[in-house]
Symmetry: C2
Subunit: 395 residues, 2 copies
Amino acid sequence: MAINLENYLSDNAKNMRRSAIRDLLSVATRPEIISFAGGFPNPETFPVEELKDIVNELMDKKPKEMLQYGSTEGSVALRREIVKRHRADGIDCDIENILVTTASQQAIDLVARIFINPGDTVVCGLPSYLGALQAFYSYQAVPVGCTKDEEADIVIKALIASGRRPKFIYAIPDFQNPSGETMDMAKRQALIDVARKYDMLILEDSPYKDIRFEGTSYPTLYSMAPERVILFGTFSKTFAPGFRLGWVLASKEIIDRLIVAKQSSDLCTPIFCQEIAASYLEKGLFDKNLKNTIDLYRGKRDLMLECLEKNMPEGVTWTRPEGGLFMFVTLPEYMNARELFDVAIQENVAFVTGDAFCCDGGGLNTLRLNFSFASNEQIVEGIARLGRAVKRMLK
Amino acid sequence: MAINLENYLSDNAKNMRRSAIRDLLSVATRPEIISFAGGFPNPETFPVEELKDIVNELMDKKPKEMLQYGSTEGSVALRREIVKRHRADGIDCDIENILVTTASQQAIDLVARIFINPGDTVVCGLPSYLGALQAFYSYQAVPVGCTKDEEADIVIKALIASGRRPKFIYAIPDFQNPSGETMDMAKRQALIDVARKYDMLILEDSPYKDIRFEGTSYPTLYSMAPERVILFGTFSKTFAPGFRLGWVLASKEIIDRLIVAKQSSDLCTPIFCQEIAASYLEKGLFDKNLKNTIDLYRGKRDLMLECLEKNMPEGVTWTRPEGGLFMFVTLPEYMNARELFDVAIQENVAFVTGDAFCCDGGGLNTLRLNFSFASNEQIVEGIARLGRAVKRMLK
């Protein structure tokens, strides 16, 4: 009586990729393992008492709205707060430019859905965020990577010459995931110029921009070319991922298309979560907590850098991110991070191998470390373990 | 500088349909309008005080889990409660058979995504739930309708003969949306037989099954053929839509594919909402509240039937649902429900025209009435207004 599922699956389904992180994490569930694998915010940053008060207040004030269906575009109150933040950042926008999404993963998915035809090429970084790659694959896109931002022009020109014109460039300009690197002003301008030259869209994924430890913030790509940039924001790293709240900032025309896509995708994001977030922002609690989060993560970054310095053998290098959640480690050429992973698991420490972020199958001697989630004690002990594992792999 | 969006859109995007309900509702926002258009549960059924207590309790007990990322498949606690309910209904299943979704709209979307290739046919009712049709269109499926369940065999045979073999049948066996009709045992068995005969899947959309006013409940299609039925459940009608919680019940093999699709779609459904729902179910509050909801809606159905009897002219007929949220009205052949809608809006009453639910463009003389949301006073006054509008259309 059993059916043969393969006979039914869509071409999209056949092209989907499991999350490498998910598979790695499932290996790394033993409690003695210190994990630098996920992209989890630190639970110390969760504003528990404030949120309890907010829920109680909202359930007294407007329970019927909290528990009923919301609109597809999202809570007006929340969109107003998002607009306020973007305006403070020098962006000219209104609530019609905002679509609230079930965190930024859905934002990427919806944008991929309305733009990608099977076989379409998409330009991204080498490495780049694997969740975005997953979304692109699920619509049968072909991601084509650039090792450096400066390569975008050449890569796009070559794709067009081969009849594979890409529709958009996917970029994470601030504290890139996984590299931790930030595009400077010249690189931003160059990317905009390339997009204009070839009449392409830019997807600006911006989950970490608010989490800057030092240096000065650069303008968003959106502010530089609002007609062709689609920005993804999220509250998962700066507030609480448990609410799954993100948004798209784009032209009204694009937002309108995304609303239609979201209608059939999940109708609306939980209004219960949206109203809590709106109130949290309205009360000014977000900015206060963000400052503490930045201080906490800066300390963890510094500690991890110090531990890497102390524990890593010669020939291993790493990025020094000015913000965000991740740093990226490059091993000697001959070393394979997947093999290192097995050794590291024996040493009770976990990370994500860099190849998961590389659409060209490269990055074999790289790995990503998250520094936001682990306690300071775990960072000290975990990097010592990782150092031992790397040393066991030395030739 | 403006871009021409049409040049970028995917074929999926071009095939998407806006929700007719959304457009109708946007016309019907004046406060004096009584709306029978949406599918909203009655806010009187929302367990506000119980939910406040639960949130406070959970935020004291496990705030870090409430606010952190959850797993893609959903909270273990919530899946256990869903399994318990299905087992009580005679279904053999385990938590590996359950995927928690951002309400059942996402469940339909994910299933469409993993099965539909552009141009694939899908068999559904005439009429059928428009949100499902929207999801199918968004992957370029071609829905083919059956006026009666008995027609499925002939329709599928014809499609196969023409080289357009459908992959699945979409059915709402209990208190169908919009018709309000329920499939009896013979019809259920016949549908299963047809699916087996042509080796097809069945999508069993089951949002209303728990809301039965009278008569005896029939077994789910899933219980009759678990190897080829995928069941969609939701808490939107029996608990609170503001949490956006639904689920898929299917074979482990299918759930596994859906997990991969959900990873790239929105990673996970808010764990905050899931834990609240799990606790609400664990405490037995769900069943207690469900009883009250059923009593409330039975009264509203009876009242609406009575009002239709009193106010509708000869030649107008309607269904008498044994449960659920909707009844379906058939006007005389010559009457057009879209034209009636304009007259009804003048009379300050709104509904959804039946053609929105018909993939063949038919159903022009039909309309859907929701009886769960309006107050009793609004039902009395609203149906009187609708009666006046219909009478103005009489030839």
